[in-house]
Subunit: 108 residues, 4 copies
Amino acid sequence: MEPHIESNEMQKKVHEWISQFKEGYWEPHVMVSTLTEEVGEVARAINHIHGPKKQKEGENEVTLSDELADVLFVLICIANEHKISLSDAFEKNMRKKYGRDNDRFEKK
Amino acid sequence: MEPHIESNEMQKKVHEWISQFKEGYWEPHVMVSTLTEEVGEVARAINHIHGPKKQKEGENEVTLSDELADVLFVLICIANEHKISLSDAFEKNMRKKYGRDNDRFEKK
Amino acid sequence: MEPHIESNEMQKKVHEWISQFKEGYWEPHVMVSTLTEEVGEVARAINHIHGPKKQKEGENEVTLSDELADVLFVLICIANEHKISLSDAFEKNMRKKYGRDNDRFEKK
Amino acid sequence: MEPHIESNEMQKKVHEWISQFKEGYWEPHVMVSTLTEEVGEVARAINHIHGPKKQKEGENEVTLSDELADVLFVLICIANEHKISLSDAFEKNMRKKYGRDNDRFEKK
């Protein structure tokens, strides 16, 4: 089971979705605005679940799960339009963590 | 090759990393602060690559790929600490897109 | 007319508002989550005004002006709880800009 | 002392600064990317001051005050390019708070 293939699979699915449309991928700064918007929704969901914001009357129940997926979608779009493999990036990141940050926090 | 298993693989790897430490997962609002920090790094990388910010002397070259992986890492932490499967969320999100947004943009 | 007094005036008004409540200022990481949420709303407003998101049926008209004020409010809260004068910080920032960045972009 | 005049004063100073340059105000989505970048710096400063991130060796001391001013600067740029008075927006926001949210939290 290769993680490389895994996340590539998601990237391929997003690419298939985007490729249907004339518009294609949005311009990178527009993608960042959209990322910012979706991350704001995650923050809102966390504020609703863990406080301190009381949920306002009539506000739809916020689903953290959906909001995380929205962020992931935009993340994949940005990766795709820059020809970046997220799973390669993820693996490199984990290797760096094991190398650099391994003693940063107290071990159990 | 199931995307479900794929991203679960990444979630498992993050969980293994975090589980080494006494500290464990950070408190949700702290995770959002960290998400905000890492998304800021993605914005900076995009501003460096696509303008308009001139890269300052001495500033390390920003690698968009690393920054995307950092965001993905935090996203997975938030998912993990809320027992959310990112790949399930992703698949649900794609199904919603094909249902709801399929005619939102002009087709090729 | 001193800008110092100006923005202090806003900081005082926010302090008066917050001081009414038992809860007081929120914990700093919660403030960052709230800042992230409000910045997401600004991003959404910009996406609505300048594209590419088509405004969805039934969605309230987004007022950029309100969203900017929401961000400013949270910014002031963070400043207040750290005993920071935003107008001093602003003036120092402008002086730095005139010193450091004055030749960063092409003059008219 | 009118708060209206106050924040207008800051907006005027930012406008004077920007007006020196051929480039003028950046395109709105670029401003949002920059806002995201600066908000990320605020998050980083909060994480450094209040935990949980240990400051890395060699990393410059982060000044929350500077980062807040950077966010304020970008906020003012966005307001200026949309002909929005931040102090009018702020006052409207406070009036709304006193009307709508006045009983949202427990009074002292």
